[in-house]
Symmetry: C2
Subunit: 253 residues, 2 copies
């Protein structure tokens, strides 16, 4: 099993099957497949959990059930407890981002890890927190910090997932096209400038160089594909073919 | 209004009131308050949206309704479109993290920004995407990438919120206590070592320095508070007061 060092998501005494299902779905969105449940209120299996998983059925079907939190974490080396509110305890508090780093570092060191989530209404019991190495608190809007179970799982799972998935922060999607070469761009510029000249766009020779530079800068910013350059040639031709009266209108500018 | 440069969340033709409400809740979790809605399927106001907002009522009540996407973004300077699947378009694609940077940079430049979310079933229409400057795609598990509307709003909102909120990645929560001083730690070490000596813990003088160093390192790692140091002194006293038979058992090690 290649995911044996991925964090286990441990739901402690979850109340609603719907929330268990939604948590399973959020887990799978983030590539997490291992769920454990401590004393689910409505027993197990739970048809509502399966229905709410909408596609993440395998996570629900493979979920392991335990009688106590300590049994559910017995084989793990490093455990985080999620809490929304501050507890009166001396405990290390991590952001989800730092928790994700820590979980990946532990996995690299072949340690098994898990994240505890408490019941919907109350959160983790005070006695469960000392079983964990540290606490994760999601720093949402302090004026409105209530997150449901699945949203908590989603945010922490996403931070974990993002750290293992390399993706370019910004890229231009160009499908089957290729970026235009600079020769193609210059050909386009020249074609456009000739057409503009013909159309009376440049009112004075003095202004011309500035106007040319501005337009070239604008078109460079568009990062055209080769296909788009060809389309743009067509646009120039089409506009050049407009009626004389339209050209008349343009001339006075 | 101090939030006029915060991104507007624009729901285009949302179907279920529940999802509008859940999106409002996710927005407020991330400190986002400005919602616009284009042609809500079930009309407006929508009682289900208000019920599902569970506390984020103000966001729903202040939501503005528009007849078209272009009307909803008319006063904005920079608009992002969220899409899950790849479209056959030449378009810049951002991760939520880079999108968040971009939105904050635009706000600093006093630009007004917005993020478009499409209908639940289909996502944004192909004609809405060219109205946006760039696309944001949330890089979740490609094998299971379906996120509901509110989860999409939550993840993108969270990335935006995290970038403006400074929070220590890791800190030790110690409540009203203060960290122990090194003098207090050394006093504790000495007390413990004396008690261990007395209890026959150090079998040979040769091993003693290593055993002392190991135990001191262990206790240093616990980053004790002044209160905990005092408690630990009490622990030593209590253990030292155990019956002679318990001490006998320890001796042979």
């Amino acid at each position: 099993m290649s995911d044996q060092f991925d964090p286990v998501i441990i739901l402690v005494e979850p109340q609603l099957g719907e929330n268990i299902g939604a948590a399973a779905r959020a887990m799978l969105n983030c590539g997490l497949k291992r769920m454990r449940i401590v004393r689910p209120r409505d027993g197990w299996p739970n048809a509502r959990a399966l229905a709410a998983a909408s596609g993440a059925d395998a996570v629900i079907e493979a979920a392991e059930i335990f009688e106590s939190t300590s049994a559910a974490i017995a084989d793990l080396n490093y455990v985080l407890a999620t809490t929304a509110r501050q507890r009166d305890m001396v405990k290390t508090i991590l952001t989800p981002e730092v928790a994700a780093e820590e979980l990946h570092a532990r996995a690299s060191a072949l340690q098994r890890t898990g994240i505890l989530f408490g019941p919907e209404r109350t959160g983790l019991m005070n006695d469960d927190i000392p079983l964990a190495d540290a606490v994760v608190t999601i720093p949402v809007n302090p004026a409105f910090s209530s997150l449901n179970l699945a949203q908590g799982v989603l945010l922490i799972g996403y931070c974990w997932w993002r750290m293992q998935v390399q993706s370019e922060g910004r890229h231009l999607e160009i499908g089957g096209n290729r970026p235009a070469t600079k020769q193609e761009m210059v050909n386009l510029f020249v074609r456009l400038e000739e057409a503009l000249e013909e159309g009376g766009f440049y009112t004075t020779d003095q202004q011309r160089p500035t106007m040319v530079r501005n337009m070239r800068n604008l078109l460079q910013r568009a990062e055209m594909t080769e296909q788009e350059v060809r389309t743009f040639h067509g646009v120039i031709v089409a506009l050049n073919g407009t009626s004389g009266s339209a050209k008349e209108k343009r001339r006075p500018r």
